[in-house]
Symmetry: C2
Subunit: 706 residues, 2 copies
């Protein structure tokens, strides 16, 4: 166990806690903290710290911790900014393991706040004191009945105790999820809010949860990772430890990225990269905070489906039809039960009914047994059924039926999502499920999220574990080549030279600086040709009209040259046209985009997608953290929507997928080797020819930084 | 008012109701009906009909209605099948307006059940008695405190009274939605379940709701429409009457279509056609039954956004980030408030915070006012903001804040979706909103559905109303041509001949019956050429390898011919190769698919989509009920994902969109004129050339029926 984890163990499981800013006024942060500590019956010692009060809410107070002789594991600081430095000094001198800083107005407000945050951190580091926060709401440890938080969510009892570890960058989201867990019967081992992550960061909590025996699933609300590569390494460890990691991340939209920055001073990075990294590391990515609890609770209490198929059952014909449609729309496969199951079901059903989705409304009892329950048990015992969704609308004897279904689900250990769509009308059924320890959802959206998460997680576990790719020597010549280049944008010929140094085939272009020069080249390579403007000012050549294709003769070439010059002048007045490249028109392949980026969270990443003019229209891009193996690159391109065309759909010859994967892997190696110096590079289009004929980069651009 | 509507008015607002099968046992259908009638305090007269009981639950009973001298408006029949005919006879003789048949086991079970259903209907028709059902759960009319249903949902009180008209083909979904309305504070004018629609069908209810003054929004759960064209006509009337129509329809997936058939004997038709028809007629299409109530209630109580933009506000930084992301993912546009609003907001906010989405956490009071409320009011008064989403996690004084926000929303008449993510912890806030009559949701999914529905509906109302397209004479020659054709599949040359008769340009193909013939043709038109196999057995030519492109010379052509013959033999052994067509290779355009279908609900429909090899990969198809005007066809193709390429993205020349729209309109006219005889026709690919150069059908297939 590393030292951060052992410190966290002491901090999150404290024998005693000190509260700076303790008060008897529940309108104040320190007042609510004291109230919740007492209300929930914390099993350790409470030490209010107050400059002059002898006691707070009946608990003896001290003016300072240092010199009091009281050993304290965790300190909570709910103080105005001006008093924080002294308090941290005091905690440090007294030998506390860590301090939770609730106070806000630090790095999230800009550079000045960041400087103040650094000052506090320096004091803490001097004493070996670890910090949670600032700008957070503290944490709870239900096993110790410890609510070390000012959140009003703790006003209701009891704290939901269980095995879900929750770490949130947002305090109020943590609080909302605690309330949510309370309602649904889910239980938490620890719920912590981390705020600005000045010291203790999300990955530290993940590492703690991996080692914590009480934690069986890990839920995260993330605004920005401090170290994306560490997160992926921890995801590998969590997977090996059999603990699912579930995450919601802010910053999917531009607005979300800015909000993450202003909320907890987080750099959100690219969401597409994040999503790809999660998929490749069996991290369950969700779009909704409450779904974290729903999905983690389902995995903890119901387990992982053994195959990725779902059976749907409902006593309402309308509900089963809607649910069947939504299961399909959610990308879940309907299970095809075995013949034995089918025959047994058909014996229970009126003619014409489907076996899955299964309408069990109005079935007569068979051999004295409830046929709806028998039908469930038949599906649950079928190994071809991975998970079951029981969608309940209203029906007579609902409470009894739901209780029996829940008991059967737990007894047969078949992952079963029970959905209760009516409102308070069926609260009896909700209470029955809570009593027997069976999870449920109230909305179909959440039932589908739960099934999708559990099914995807099961599939990811059955896949081979992600391997770190060893760095090869392929990129060495390209690095040497890049070392000689100046920072800034590389034009098309410069980019292609870098690609060739990396072993990637490109068209051999020579820049024609005059139209006569271009005419001579075109006659040499033979019409038809393409003509493209070259200028540092041109980022999107097509938009500026600087790409002219299918030029059939001298006349067409001359007009094209003039049009390119005119287009550039209009696109960026005053820009210098360095010249034009003349290229042969290549036909018959499939155009992709292949590129790399430097990401704020994960560093070098690669991408591949549908290219050419379709690139924006198709929105068909796959990404991965670089480097990737050739095999990994192949999996990546075969996930593209255009993959069937690459594989030779509709009678076409298959494309050279091997050469494509090799190119993606080479570029990934280059990106990993050049690091932040290569901020981005795009080959667009990369023409993928027929199998055996390779690939060729037709155009490219890149940006280098210092 | 037509006679069905006036009958429905009498039936749904009865002064007296008779209950056949009345019982004092709540375990029986007729027992629950009696109990709910009494429990809710129905304002009219109750007449139990029972062969020998003198009274049921204290209400005097009669053995039969006919001859009793008691005038009855509505009868409910909860009887075994064997007694139904006599009961309907009795209702009819007694002069009742209509009968609600709860009993199941009719058309939904197959042809025998359908025949039994027809017999009952014949008896009813003989007496001029209208039927609701069979296989339904009855209806409620909360204004009359009338629960004429056996659903256990009516066990709780009070019935939610209001202005949403709800018609469901599924009884238990209706019941679940009544419970849902009870919980959220939404109110119903009528909720009716229609079951098999033997007589009274969904469109009759829609027509009633359009004319019913108490109804302000119309919610529908549909398994299959009896008459799609009538539904669209009613949608136009509802739009003109200012009553939004909201619908959930089963049958989006294949499983859902089968379930609709086995549940209420409904033919679901194509969901894509349905979705297109809804979009074109301002019908709000939802994927979730409970969302019907959420969205209708929002439109009724909060109104329609005046512009399609959303502002997001939350006292939780994490919640606002997640919500901002989801708003963007839901395709809603974030509002850009005016400068005055922005400046006023910035005066309230710490530096660095966005104005929208707006984090109002931890704001100090300004001039003695709550800044979070002031911020809301600033956004609500801004005409650039169409609607507002207030996303509430936990925060101190939550209940007061939420109440103030709700009051401000109602006072300022700004459509505002209030989302309460915590659980029972914030039930106080829920009660406060119900008290003041302000709707809310508990899940972000539903808040987004509400905003999306209201925003889309507002946009649809601002669009011009859909016009019926007059039939032209264009298709007459094609109809004449088609009259001479036999039923069955048309091969490529036959299909093209039909297209040319309709004024659509095609390649002029001659079938070569020998390879020598093909070689001669290829030399005449000039290499490269394409060679395609012709056979009635070939539906998907590409899959059978029967399309060979880019053949450069005689050798390539001969090999291609052999490959096509071999491919067909493998694809369908014994199939006859009629020959091959030789075509010039045409370049430089964009390949679309354009076609028409005969749909079970709407009749003739047309489609346009990305074509060629990308057709399955892109999943880019738009549909419309035929015929469409050229302008309508243009709007349709410009909604395709490929539209930017058609318009000339990335420096390409624009395609001939006018000629494309003309072709779509012509084909629509042909489809409408031929009716069910043309079960389908596809032009794939239709090559769309540069603007001014037209379009040309490169391949096509069709199926005619008798």
């Amino acid at each position: 166990m590393n030292s951060t984890v052992s410190t966290l163990r002491a901090l999150l499981n404290p024998r005693s806690v000190a509260v700076y800013g303790a008060s008897s006024d529940p309108g104040k942060f320190g007042g609510r903290v004291m109230r919740f500590l007492l209300q929930h019956g914390y099993r350790g010692r409470i030490v209010p710290v107050h400059p002059d009060a002898a006691e707070i809410l009946g608990v003896p107070a001290v003016a300072r911790l240092d010199g009091s002789g009281i050993p304290v594991d965790a300190c909570l600081l709910a103080l105005p900014s001006a008093h924080l430095a002294a308090a941290i000094e005091d905690c440090g001198r007294a030998g506390a393991h860590g301090a939770v800083v609730i106070t806000a107005d630090f790095a999230e407000t800009g550079p000045e706040g960041a400087a103040r945050q650094e000052e506090l951190l320096a004091i803490a580091r001097h004493h070996g004191l670890r910090l949670i926060g600032p700008n957070c709401l503290g944490f709870i440890n239900p096993q110790l009945r410890l609510a070390l938080t000012s959140s009003v969510a703790l006003a209701t009892e009891p704290m939901p105790c269980g095995s879900i570890g929750l770490a949130c960058q947002s305090g109020s989201l943590m609080a909302s999820l605690i309330s949510h867990a309370q309602d649904t019967g889910a239980g938490l081992s620890i719920a912590a809010s981390l705020g600005n992550q000045a010291d203790i960061e999300l990955c530290d909590l993940v590492e703690y949860f991996i080692e914590d025996e009480a934690t069986r699933a890990i839920c995260l609300y993330i605004e920005g990772l401090k170290d994306g590569r560490r997160f992926l390494e921890l995801a590998r460890r969590a997977r090996a430890a059999g603990k699912p990691v579930l995450a919601v991340k802010a910053g999917r939209s531009e607005a979300g990225q800015k909000l993450a920055q202003s909320h907890t001073a987080s750099l959100a990075g690219s969401y597409a990269v994040w999503a790809a990294a999660c998929r490749d590391h069996a991290v369950i990515l969700l779009d909704d905070p409450e779904a974290l609890i729903y999905c983690a609770d389902f995995l903890v209490r119901c387990g992982v489906p053994s195959c990725p198929t779902v059976a749907v059952i409902s006593p309402s014909g309308g509900t089963v039809a809607v649910t069947g449609d939504r299961v399909a729309a959610a990308g879940l496969a309907l299970a095809d039960p075995g013949d034995g199951t089918k025959n047994a079901l058909r014996a229970l059903l009126p003619p014409g009914r489907l076996v899955n989705p299964l309408d069990v409304g109005g079935l007569p009892r068979a051999s004295g047994l409830d046929s709806a329950l028998t039908a469930y048990e038949l599906l649950a015992r079928d190994p071809a059924v991975g998970a079951i969704l029981i969608a309940v609308a209203t029906t007579p004897q609902l409470e009894d039926k739901v209780r029996q279904w829940g008991q059967a689900a737990l007894a047969l250990e078949k992952p079963t999502a029970i959905l209760l769509t009516p409102g308070t009308l069926v609260d009896g059924a909700r209470r029955a499920l809570k009593e027997i320890g069976c999870p449920y959802t109230n909305r179909l959206d959440d039932a589908l999220r739960v099934l999708r998460a559990a099914t995807d997680y099961g599939a990811a576990l059955r896949d081979s574990a992600p391997q770190a790719v060893a760095e090869g020597s392929l990129a060495a010549p390209a690095c040497k080549h890049a070392a000689r280049l100046q920072a800034g944008r590389l034009n098309e010929p410069e980019t292609k030279a870098l690609l060739r140094a990396c072993g990637i085939r490109t068209t051999e272009d020579i820049v024609a600086t005059t139209v006569e020069d271009a005419l001579a080249q075109a006659r040499r390579i033979g019409y038809p040709v393409a003509l493209k403007g070259v200028s540092r000012e041109l980022v999107h050549k097509s938009e500026a009209g600087a790409v002219r294709l299918d030029l059939a003769d001298d006349g067409a070439l001359c007009s094209a040259w003039q049009a390119i010059a005119a287009g550039l002048a209009q696109y960026r007045p005053g820009a210098l046209l360095d010249g034009c490249v003349v290229q042969p028109m290549l036909r018959g392949g499939i155009e992709l985009i292949v590129g790399c980026r430097w990401d704020a969270q994960f560093g070098a990443v690669i991408l591949a997608g549908s290219g050419g003019v379709l690139v924006e229209i198709l929105d068909d891009v796959q990404m991965a953290v670089a480097p990737v193996s050739v095999e990994g690159a192949k999996r990546m391109v075969m996930r593209l929507r255009i993959a069937p065309a690459l594989a030779g759909a509709r009678g076409r010859k298959p494309a050279d997928i091997g050469a494509l994967a090799e190119t993606v892997a080479r570029l990934g190696e280059l990106a990993a080797a050049l690091g932040p110096r290569l901020s981005e590079l795009d080959i667009n289009p990369l023409l993928v020819l027929e199998a055996g004929r390779g690939v060729i980069a037709l155009d490219g651009r890149a940006t280098l930084t210092d």
